[in-house]
Every structure is written in C-alpha cells, then in structure tokens.
C-alpha cells in the first residue's frame, strides 16, 4: 500500500512536470517566466499568454484526460473479459467511432451544424451504437458472455474498418481522406476549454465508482466462478463495468481520435509495479495513462513541429519497447 501511495505521488509530480514542460513547447518561443506570468497574471491581449492558456493548456489537459480514460477503460476491460489482450477498443468502440467520424467528414462539407463541431458527436454516436450491438450479440438471456463479446467485437471491428475503407475508396477528395486518416491516428490539436468538461466528468465519476468497487475487480480477475463464491454479483458488476467502459472510452475517443496502445499496455505497466490486487491500482493506472500521453504529445511536437506527429504513432514507437522491457524484467503474470 505504501509503495502504491508513493507511486501515485510520483506520477502526480511527474505529470505536473510534464504539464510545465508542455506549456513551454509551441510555435511561439516561451520562457519559464512567461509561463508563470501567463498562469498568475494573465493578459489576454498578449499572444504568448493567449497561446499558453487557450491552446497549450487545454491541449495538455485533453492529452492527460484521454490517456487516463483509455488506461482506466483498458484496466476494466481486462478484468471484464479476463483477458490480458483486452483493451477499450475490443468492443468495437474505436472502429464504431472511426466510422462515425468518417461519415461526418464525408457527409458534411462544413463539419459544423448550428455552430457545433460534428465529428466528435458522430464518433460518440458510432462508438455507442457499436458497443450496444456487441452487447446484444455477446450476451445470452441478459447474461454477458465475455468470450462471445470478444469474438463479436473483433468481427464487427473488421466489418466497420472495411466500411471506413469503402468510404475512403469512394471519396474523390484528397483533403477528406487526409481528415479521416489524421483523425484515426489521434491527436489533441483541436482541444479547447469548451469540450474538456465531458471527458473530465465521465472519467472522474468512473474513477470514484471503481475506487469503491476495486475489491470486486481484483476478485473478478480470479475468474467468474471464484468471484461468485466470494459473494460478488458478477452479472451486475459486469454490466456496471461495461457501461463505464463504453461511456469513458466514447468521450475520450470522440475528442481526440482513437489512440492505440495506451489502454492495452498501461494497465499491465501498473500491475507489473504494484501487483494485481492493490487498492490504488486503478488510480495509478489512470495517472500513468495520462502522464504517458502528455509525454507522447510533447515528443510529437518536439520532433515534428509545427503540427505534431499524430500521437498514435508516438505512443507505439516509444511505448512498446519500454513495455516489452518491463515485462521481461519483471517476469510479470496477468491475474
């Protein structure tokens, strides 16, 4: 427990450091003094202050929230289907969101409707619709069957990916193609204060809920039967987990596009450090996910200014080697 507490504190400190560094990186060169001035005596007419507060800060927050949401959802998914390879996209969330976003790119030349920027809402609708179908096809008599859900999710994902490819093939606009490809690789460039609330609220609620249900998660990792005998209402908790995963992932993906790797790897990372049953596991996992994407976004902006390399590429490039190293060194086992 003490180790876990220490890890959480470390992650918080590192995140703060990441934010501070992140506020410095951008097209307009900035000193640390300017950052402090922008934070504590903000002058809206100064373009540097404006960029720090209205562009860089929301971008960092969105990166953090997305990483935390995906890691959180990955943690729950792995417990839900009791499979080490599960991630939040397994239920077709990512491909549903991709299809939704692609449709908006291809259907609406303006991308806005009554001042509302459409792709996130289409992505959200797509991810929810697909999750719903997977749940219906993956359950029998109201009982979720993890293995069946898994298979339906994988199959449906292929179909939806094919539909996105079809849309891309039929498109005659190179720019539309670029929009879809760019979105599907993930990024935080469009972050702004007005949209941060959605992922922030859903993630916080999810974290609070499962902080209190943490024991159930640990027990569920031992297998459904064992959990039943230990007095866990497996059916109920599975439904709660499923709803939480789809809501939290849906909102994270809607605003930043599907970012791979985080939901799959980060939960293993924290389990490798803390073991599988720690009470602070989920909190540490979310923090690690958030920190990880903040760092990846920073790297992407450093190596590829000004637009930044799509963050999904960076996560895989930098995350996978580290992950493999950790697995080999710790000799860690799932559940």
């Amino acid at each position: 427990m003490r180790k876990a507490f220490l890890l959480v504190v470390c992650l918080l400190l590192l995140s703060a450091l990441g934010f501070f560094l992140g506020l410095k990186v951008g097209s307009i060169s900035t000193s640390y003094t300017t950052i402090m001035e922008a934070l504590f005596s903000y002058d809206s007419t100064d373009p540097t202050h404006f960029s720090i507060i209205n562009l860089r800060l929301p971008r960092l927050l969105l990166a953090f929230l997305t990483g935390a949401s995906l890691a959180f959802s990955g943690y729950l998914m792995q417990a839900l289907v009791n499979n080490a390879l599960a991630d939040p996209y397994l239920l077709g969330t990512a491909s549903g969101a991709s299809l939704g976003a692609s449709l908006s790119f291809f259907l609406f030349a303006d991308l806005t409707f009554m001042g509302l920027y459409l792709p996130p809402f289409f992505a959200l609708a797509g991810s929810f619709a697909v999750t719903l179908v997977v749940v219906v096809l993956g359950s029998r008599r109201g009982q979720l069957i993890p293995s069946q859900m898994l298979l339906v999710g994988v199959a449906l994902s292929s179909l939806l990916t094919a539909l996105v490819s079809l849309l891309m093939f039929l498109s005659d606009s190179e720019s539309q193609l670029k929009s879809v490809v760019f979105w599907s690789m993930g990024g935080f460039e469009k972050a702004d204060w007005s949209t941060l609330g959605y992922p922030a609220v859903t993630l916080t609620l999810g974290l609070i809920l499962f902080f209190f249900l943490q024991r159930h998660l640990s027990v569920l990792l031992l297998g459904a039967e064992r959990a039943e005998t230990l007095g866990v209402d497996v059916r109920l908790i599975r439904w709660v987990m499923l709803v939480s995963v789809s809501v939290v992932t849906g909102f994270a993906v809607a605003f930043s596009g599907p970012v791979g790797f985080v939901g799959l790897m980060v939960p293993h990372f924290t389990r490798a450090l803390l073991g599988t049953t720690n009470r602070l596991n989920l909190i540490a996992c979310a923090l690690a996910g958030g920190l990880f994407l903040v760092v990846c976004d920073l790297i992407s902006r450093w190596i590829y200014p000004p637009a930044g390399m799509p963050v999904g590429i960076v996560t895989s490039f930098f995350g996978v080697p580290f992950f493999v190293y950790l697995l080999r060194r710790k000799n860690y086992r799932f559940s």
Binding site: P47, L55, F105, D110, T112, G115, D192, P306
Partner: protein, 266 residues
C-alpha cells in the same frame, strides 16, 4: 520515334509526331487544349472540365486508373503531372506500351516552359510559343504596378480539419509574388501543403486569408477555431474567396489566377 527526358528525369520514347494524345490531369488537359490540335486529343479524366470542348472527349478514370479504357483509346503518348499520377501508375502505363511524359512546375515560368516543351513534342512549336509569349506579356503587365507596393502576408487554406495550407514551396508563392503579396509562411516544410497548428497561425498573424468568403469562413472555419479571430486578416475582414480551379491548376489559366489574386489583394 525519338527519346526525350521529362521533368522527372525519366527517359521517354515517343513518336516524332504524335497523332493521338491525352492528359491524365485537369491542368495538363488545359495545357493540351492550348497547344495541341483539338482533334488529336482522344480523351480526358473524370475531373477535366476545362475548356468546354474537353467535355466532349471520352473519359478515362485516373483514380483508380482505368488501364483498359486508356488502352482502348490508343494514345501515342500520355501526359501527366507530378503529384497527380504516381510513378507506380506510370510504370504500369509504360508496360502497356504507351509512353507517359511528366511535367512538373514549381513556378509560373515553369508553366510557360512546359507549354513550349509541349509544342516541341507535338510539333506545334509556333502555336505553343505564341501562347507562352502572350501569357508572358500579360504576366509582365500584371506585375508592373505591384513591384513597389507593400506586400501583405497571405495564408491560403486548402482544408479546415486539420488546417492544411499552401506551403512556401508551391506555385502559389510564386503567383503571389506577381500579384503583389507574399506567402505568410516563412518556413519551408517537407510537405508542399503542410498541416498547421492554431498557435502557428496566431504567430504568423497573416494579413490576408484566402479560402472562402468572410461569411463562409466565419461559419465553417472561425466558429471551429474561435481563437483565430485574433489574427489581422479577421479583424480587418480581409478574407476572400478565389476560384478553386484557378488556384490549384498549373495551367495556362495561371494568369487568370494571378489577376484574381491581385484583385483581392488590392
């Protein structure tokens, strides 16, 4: 038959006097109609819509490339531009026994040179030189009174999400020079049409934006990126729409494009 080197440095062997030709890009089709004997043009792509006479020619899909249709039109030589037709497609066309000749243009002068080259390849030098000379005269006229004027910085947006713009290493920068402006981008990026962040645009603070009328851009661009309302172009309402095809096609109509740019910059 003779062998020539095209703008990409490829060796192309083609008949000394081609009788059946077609182009695989809208701009190149415009070039052909300016230089070639109209009867010798045997096709066009689905996007070639200028001049009106082009619309009467049979269509060959160029994306994806319809090789069978191309073959059935029996061209002696096919013209292509860099960026529209890939080298992979070109190799396939060559394999069918049809020579394919590429042109590439980085500047307005390159387009005029391209016209003259076409004239040589099609044995219509007189016509081509007349076209190029008259275009050159118009360009000189357009550029005379812009030489000493203050040059506003111009950002031309090609796509809103993500924000793609005309980079420095595009024909656009050269056209602006004649029209009396300058590209707001000072850096050269690897891509000719780079994606930019909002912060980068804030930093550039362009004086003119091209990409749509003020009302259109207000609805589709600035509502999406309200932060960008702080740039000079927005505050001074210097946001303009120009004809898409004139902007994007490196064709003899490049002079009309320059004239249009000049009109909005004035």
């Amino acid at each position: 038959m003779h062998t020539v080197t095209d703008d990409l440095g490829r060796k192309v062997t083609l008949p000394k006097q081609p009788r059946r030709v077609l182009a695989l890009a809208p701009s190149m089709t415009e070039m052909l109609f300016a230089v070639a004997d109209t009867a010798s043009i045997v096709g066009r792509t689905q996007n070639c819509d200028y001049p009106a006479a082009a619309l009467t020619k049979p269509v060959v899909n160029n994306y994806p490339m319809d090789y069978e249709r191309l073959l059935s039109l029996k061209p002696d030589v096919v013209f292509a531009t860099d960026g529209i037709i890939s080298l992979e497609v070109a190799a396939q066309v060559q394999k069918l026994g049809i020579p394919i000749y590429f042109q590439a243009y980085d500047s307005v002068t390159d387009i005029l040179r391209g016209i003259r080259t076409l004239g040589q390849l099609l044995q219509r030098e007189e016509k081509a030189n007349a076209v190029a000379d008259s275009l050159q005269r118009i360009i000189n006229q357009l550029a005379t009174d812009t030489a000493r004027a203050a040059r506003p910085t111009v950002l031309a947006i090609t796509w809103k999400d993500p924000i793609y713009v005309y980079g420095r290493n595009t024909l656009f920068t050269d056209k602006l020079r004649y029209a009396g402006g300058k590209n707001a981008l000072t850096e050269i990026f690897a891509q000719p049409y780079p994606a930019l962040t909002r912060e980068y645009i804030l930093k550039m603070d362009p004086e003119v934006i091209i990409g749509g009328s003020f009302e259109q851009m207000e609805k589709t661009f600035f509502s999406l990126y309200p932060e960008l309302r702080r740039i000079k172009a927005y505050k001074q309402k210097r946001i303009y729409e120009v004809t898409d095809d004139l902007m994007s096609r490196p064709s003899p109509r490049v002079v009309e494009g320059i004239a249009e740019l000049k009109a909005v910059l004035r």
